[in-house]
Amino acid sequence: MVSKPVAHDQHGAEHEEAHASDQTYIRIAVILAIITIVEVIIYYVPSFRPVLVPVLIVLSVAKFATVVGYFMHLKYDSQVFRIMFIAGLVLSLGVFVAMLAMFWTVNSYQPFIGG
């Protein structure tokens, strides 16, 4: 199998990545700071206890994705980088889930129980 040669124009286009402006970066940082404040506030609100873990995980994933997408430019960069990073992330998540599942099954151990 022979792929199409990569044209130099395409290579040039990748050097001219459409990155966000400084104002956008500042706006994103403000959003990230607000999410962090929300995380800490809900930690102290007793009525949030039943849904605290899923809410914290959702907020954490949102922060993670925002930093990777905008500050690390993965949103604008080559798909090759995206695939590489997501592959590493999926593998580490696999290890994470497998390890917790193993301890959960063998020892009836539940790491998220508390509060």
Binding site: S3, H8, H11, V40, F64, M84, S92
Partner: protein, 248 residues
């Protein structure tokens, strides 16, 4: 295999037609992407797995010291407001890092130096804060060998702190190179690679802050160690003897 050869060959021709002037500090790209950047992303992917296993280990043992009734317990010693400020500091250092990259792309050398210095300073504040946290915990009785929570906590956050320290050294090196006039917009990739590493350190802390500090722990037991079953006390004694043999 034929695919890779074909792609590299086509690129080589493209670069040659440009005279290679604007790519002098870039290795020959393959598959349409810069090789140095690709290596950095590969490293970050592997580091994901490194921290993934450390976090998984911590999550496995996070409540175990409470079950085994081996204080100090995490919910007794964590200072959430203090760690929240540390998390905020590291988050803001990501902003200053991305502004440093933006500045060098505009050939704004003063902007680069200001933002790189700010990033290194915020990173140093974070590491200093972590050092203070560790010493406070140690004074409260939590050491690397006091219980399984201490071991997994210090290994995970210690490795993260090491990453931040390496990042600060990298940033200071870039600042030094810039002050000697060695960084221009053509060398923005040098700053971008440091930035990728720095943002990665930040996203790892986002995960650690949530899973280690904010996700609640099991309630500490009412009674002392005497309340534990005989088998658990024996296990604790054995574990403590084993830990006592460790050289640190």
């Amino acid at each position: 295999m034929a695919t890779a050869i074909e792609v590299v060959t086509a690129h080589g021709a493209g670069a040659a037609s440009h005279g290679g002037d604007d790519h002098s500090d870039h290795p020959p790209p393959s598959a349409g992407v810069n090789s140095r950047k690709m290596l950095m992303w590969l490293f970050l992917a592997s580091d994901c797995m490194f921290f993934g296993t450390l976090i998984a280990t911590y999550m496995t043992y996070r409540n175990r010291s409470i079950e085994l009734q081996m204080p100090p317990y995490p919910n007794e010693i964590f200072d959430i407001p203090y760690t929240s400020v540390s998390a905020f500091v590291l988050l803001m250092s990501s902003l200053t890092m991305v502004l440093a990259l933006s500045a060098i792309k505009r050939n704004d050398h003063r902007g680069l130096r200001v933002w790189i210095s700010a990033t290194a300073l915020l990173g140093a504040i974070f590491v200093g804060g972590q050092f203070f946290e560790f010493t406070t915990f140690a004074r409260e009785g939590l050491t690397l060998s006091s219980n399984i929570f201490g071991s997994s906590f210090y290994v995970l956050t210690g490795f993260h702190g090491t990453h931040v320290t390496i990042g600060v050294i990298w940033l200071l090196t870039l600042l030094f190179v810039s002050l000697r006039g060695g960084l221009s917009s053509e060398k923005a990739l040098d700053v971008e690679l440091a930035g990728l590493y720095w943002h990665f350190v930040d996203i790892v802390w986002i995960v650690i802050f949530t899973l280690v500090y904010l996700v609640p722990y099991a309630n500490p037991p009412e009674g002392g160690a005497e309340a534990a079953p005989e088998a658990l006390i024996q296990l604790m004694t054995l574990g403590q003897r084993l830990l006592a043999t460790l050289p640190f």
